[in-house]
């Protein structure tokens, strides 16, 4: 009997590969995701790293994972509970069992389940025998033994052979999802072009895993996920951090301003710095500074000198940059600060994500120091959001903070390649040489924007700095009235940017019983929850914020329409309090989670349902 007769179809599935840090889970996850992407599924991936580089072998602290959510419909989140979990050792099973649901297929390397490993994982008994997994479909496979058997003819050393265990599981998963291995093999051919022996070994193991799964007694069905109806075009998978780097480079290209990045490595933002450092052929100047403060200060210098200047960081780094951000505010220079938020306070949860730096972005400076704050909504939106914030920052001569987070920064999605030449043009207000009327703080009467006078230009010598300046002429001024005026002008300049951003849109009915508000990287999960509720027949609307400071002009008009409003965010209520401060008339409920984890649709549904039912 062919098992393929017993094939079921699903709209979307979640597969998670978990193992020890050295087990190659990121590689196998990426390979699987590439395969389904090329096969036409929409997808979102989420890596789950330990905070340590190589935590003790086989312990829970050392578990590394890679989750692939793919489907035949649009995939806008990383998925909640898993349909398939591949666990390479007891520790990874222990750490990830919580992501399994009834009927989840658990693929386990049974060779690793010995007494020593249980102890290291902190298990009291063999989880395969103590009945704790009875709700799941357990697929025990002696993977370590198998790969050694298969690869024996190649004469490889034991370590190299064991390193292909991940590929065996890939073969098994490909079988379960009814895939051929053509796509995977093509990808391997390209990826390991310089190591033909690795390609051969990996292919042998993948095939063996596939065959093994096809005859495994516990695997009694296969799952088909049809291709999604993706727009035609060229795609790649991109993490939010890489997309951010590309968006920034694109903005430099389109504005004609040379690119400068001054940054200091910090998890989970470092990939932006690393990606940008690769692109010297575009003329991008990337400076790894001695600390966070030097990162931003070098960027401020670069901005004064005429570059599109950026600094990238995460929460603790943003704290260190606070004073310098004020300097960029008072000198009215463009500056793009990217904060890939992580769990805080202090060192907090470096590899986990939160939205808890909003207060810091909005208010974390001395003095009256308004600036642009935007929040990217997904991995791929990081590209567009970083492009747009760079445009706003340069055209409005003001520093700007882009908030992304560890989830979207390190997670990845399918990205349809845009044509940079077709993105909105960027026109910074560069002062012309020998302009007789040039004064450092003369302003465009409509936008209140001052001109960018670049050192080296004839006839524009001038001084700026951290001391308060007289409007127009720009001399140091301690005059009370002038200070009031400058404070007001800097605030009004930022507020006026609301005229240059799109209006806030609402998903769902105008007369819905509940308006759900969210912002930043939680778009996918919150939208999916709202859609779910709508399907169940509830009248729920959703508005998701990307522009935080200034807010879109119609924000109040939207709030006005709904009797019940709930703000869902991954902190204790920072955006909701900001909205309450701006619009005190509208009562707002909260839905918060601060666990270093993304929102799951399963967290949101009960909360929203309860609010809907309350009188």
């Amino acid at each position: 009997m062919s098992k393929k007769n017993n094939a079921i179809e699903m709209e979307d599935v979640v597969v998670k590969f978990v193992g020890d840090s050295g087990d190659g889970m990121q590689l196998v996850g990426t390979l699987f995701s590439e395969t389904v992407g090329i096969d036409g599924n929409d997808l979102a991936n989420f890596p789950d790293y330990p905070a340590e580089i190589r935590a003790p072998h086989n312990t829970v602290a050392g578990v590394s994972g890679f989750q692939v959510h793919f489907g035949s419909k649009e995939i806008n989140n990383f998925g909640d509970l898993c349909d398939v979990i591949v666990a390479m050792n007891p520790a990874s099973l222990k750490a990830n069992k919580k992501w399994a649901k009834k009927g989840t297929i658990l693929i386990i390397d049974s060779d690793t389940f010995d007494q020593k490993a249980f102890e290291r994982a902190g298990c009291t008994a063999n989880p395969l025998e103590d009945g704790s997994l009875k709700d799941y479909i357990i697929v025990k496979a002696p993977i370590t033994t198998k790969v050694k058997e298969i690869l024996a003819p190649l004469g490889l050393d034991i370590k190299t052979m064991e390193r292909t265990r991940n590929m065996f599981t890939l073969g098994m998963v490909l079988y379960i999802f009814n895939r051929t291995f053509n796509t995977t093999f093509d990808y391997l051919d390209k990826k390991f072009a310089k190591k033909p022996q690795m390609i051969e070994a990996n292919k042998m193991v993948i095939k063996a895993g596939f065959d093994y799964a096809s005859s495994h007694e516990s695997i009694d069905k296969t799952i088909t996920v049809k291709p999604a109806s993706l727009e035609k075009g060229k795609y790649t998978t991109v993490t939010g951090n890489i997309a951010t780097a590309w968006g920034l480079l694109a903005a430099s290209e389109r504005s004609g301003r040379p690119f400068f990045l001054g940054s200091y490595p910090i998890t989970p933002a470092t990939e932006i710095l690393m990606e940008l450092a690769r692109h010297k052929s575009l003329g991008a100047k990337v400076f790894q500074a001695e600390d966070e403060i030097a990162g931003i200060c070098s960027a401020i210098g670069a901005s004064y000198a005429g570059a599109m200047a950026c600094t990238t960081t995460s929460g603790p780094g943003l704290s260190l940059k606070s004073e310098a951000i004020g300097l960029a505010v008072i000198t009215e220079l463009p500056l793009i600060i990217v904060n890939v938020m992580r769990g805080g306070p202090s060192t907090g949860l470096p590899t986990k994500s939160e939205q808890s730096d909003l207060y810091q972005a909005l208010f974390g400076r001395n003095g009256e120091a308004p600036l642009i704050v935007m929040a990217a909504t997904s991995c791929t939106d990081c590209f567009y959001a970083s492009y747009e914030i760079a445009k706003l920052s340069m055209e409005h001569m003001t520093p700007a903070i882009l908030l992304t987070d560890g989830n979207i920064g390190q997670g990845s999605q399918l990205f349809k390649l845009p044509d940079v030449k077709k993105l909105a043009p960027i026109k910074p207000p560069i002062a012309e040489a020998n302009d007789p009327d040039y004064k450092p703080f003369n302003r465009d009467p409509k936008t209140l924007v001052r001109k960018w006078a670049i050192p080296g230009t004839e006839g524009l010598r001038h001084r700026v700095g951290g001391l308060e300046k007289e409007d127009g002429i720009g001399n140091v001024s301690m005059d009370p009235q002038n200070h009031q005026k400058m404070v007001d002008l800097r605030a009004a300049k930022v507020e006026k940017i609301a005229d240059f951003i799109p209006e806030q849109t609402v998903f769902g009915d105008e007369d819905a019983d509940l308006l759900v508000i969210s912002w930043g990287g939680t778009l996918g999960a919150v939208r999916t929850a709202v859609q779910e509720l709508q399907k169940q027949g509830n009248k729920v609307a959703h508005t998701h914020f990307r522009y935080i400071m200034p807010l879109p002009k119609n924000t109040e008009a939207i709030l006005k329409k709904y009797k019940k409003i709930v703000v869902a965010e991954l902190n204790s209520g920072q955006f909701v309090n900001y909205l309450r401060m701006k619009f005190p008339r509208y009562p707002m409920l909260q839905c918060n989670k601060v666990q270093g984890l993304p929102f799951f649709v399963s967290d949101l549904l009960p909360t929203f349902t309860k609010i809907l039912k309350e009188k």
Binding site: E34, I38, E231, K232, G233, K234, Y235, T236, T237, I242, W246, L249, E253, F260, G262, H279, K280, S281, L282, G283, K285, F287, A289, E290, D291, I293, A294, C297, S298, A299, I300, G301, A302, S303, Y304, A305, G306, A307, A309, E323, A324, L327, T331, L417, P418, D419, V420, P455, G456, T457, G459, L460, R461, H462, R463, V464, G465, G466, N475, V476
Partner: protein, 347 residues
């Protein structure tokens, strides 16, 4: 080995004068402060250097010294406390064709900005840094600084400081400085000369000026600068010449085994030939360090250019890497970057 080409600063087509660099702002330092003489030396040396006036950029941090950009008619940036070195770094990397100058003080660069100070030096950014060393915090009204003498009573050390002071030269050379010069605010001619040499040097040039804060640390350098004592406590270095000092140039510095020693010419059979000959261009900083550390009462203070060694600059190397990448890479625009990232097509 990466080759490097010197990025150059465009020269002025017309001769410039001091007036070209004087700003219309009122100078607000205390009357009698050494800063006035330093400002005057800077505005004297800029026209001599000969660059186009728009190509001078003056950056500063916080403190009395750091007001200088307002008093000069150049492009200027008055930064925040301790961060001028980082700001200058961004400016120079962005536009290596600017002549970037920086004013700072002992507190600004050796306390709050210490990290940036050592790293700008280590990288050998082509920036000229004038460090006003008055061994006190002036602008905040008289607290001890990292160069205040041990035991000195100040507003925050009523029983005397219990900190070992930095010697600026030692710190600079420890951070692999390629250029270090020292001057005093009482000798305008020498200040101008060493600033000129600093401008000519490719790399981070540190010019320490022993400056008198007449209000909070008056006469701190008096032993070195006072008429009666200066001949015995100032050693004016000249490259290629023996190190001599004293009212009649009767004294000198000799290397005795591994130590420097003050000797009198003519005594104990010592002749000029026994004296140490200054080699500011030596790659090895060993002797430079010994000279920089000389201090009264045993030694005179070394003034002039102590070290001026040739090493590639950071900004040149950046330009070189970009040039090579542009020549060798097929990636010319952001569309190319994205297209090279494992793209597949949905038809």
């Amino acid at each position: 080995m990466i080759e490097y080409n010197n990025t150059t600063v465009e020269r002025s087509r017309i001769p410039l004068t001091k007036q070209d660099f004087v700003s219309d702002q009122m100078v607000k330092w205390c009357p009698g402060c050494g800063d006035h003489a330093i400002l005057s030396a800077v505005s004297n040396v800029f026209p001599k250097i000969g660059y186009k006036k728009e190509n001078f950029m003056f950056v500063s941090g916080i403190g009395c010294s750091s007001r200088i950009p307002y008093y000069l008619n150049t492009y200027g940036f008055h930064g925040i406390h301790g961060r001028a070195a980082a700001i200058s770094t961004g400016i120079k990397i962005t536009n290596p064709h600017l002549s970037v100058w920086m004013a700072t003080g002992d507190g600004d660069s050796m306390a709050i900005g210490g990290n940036h100070f050592i790293h700008i030096i280590r990288r050998n950014m082509d920036i000229n840094i004038i460090l006003f060393n008055n061994q006190i915090y002036g602008l905040t009204k008289g607290q001890y600084s990292p160069t205040t003498n041990m035991g000195q009573i100040t507003k925050t050390s009523p029983q005397g400081t219990i900190e070992h002071p930095f010697n600026c030269g030692e710190l600079v050379l420890g951070a692999q400085g390629t250029f270090f010069a020292r001057g005093v605010d009482t000798n305008p001619k020498m200040m101008t000369e060493i600033m000129f040499e600093a401008a000519r040097h490719d790399g981070t040039s540190i010019v320490e000026i022993l400056q008198n804060c007449i209000i909070y640390n008056d006469k701190v350098h008096a032993l070195i600068t006072a008429k009666e004592t200066k001949d015995n406590y100032q050693l004016h270095l000249k490259n290629g010449e023996p190190m001599k000092f004293g009212a009649n140039m009767e004294k000198g510095i000799r290397l005795n085994k591994r130590r420097l020693e003050v000797v009198e010419i003519g005594k104990n059979d010592i002749t000029e030939n026994d004296l140490l000959v200054h080699d500011q261009y030596a790659g090895d900083p060993g002797i430079h360090l010994m000279i920089a550390k000389m201090a009264p009462p045993v030694y005179p203070v070394a003034l002039g250019v102590i070290r001026s060694a040739m090493y590639p600059t950071y900004d040149d190397l950046v330009e070189e890497q970009i040039k090579q990448a542009k020549e060798n890479s097929k990636i010319k625009c952001v569309n190319d970057v994205m297209a090279a990232s494992g793209v597949f097509e949905i038809k």
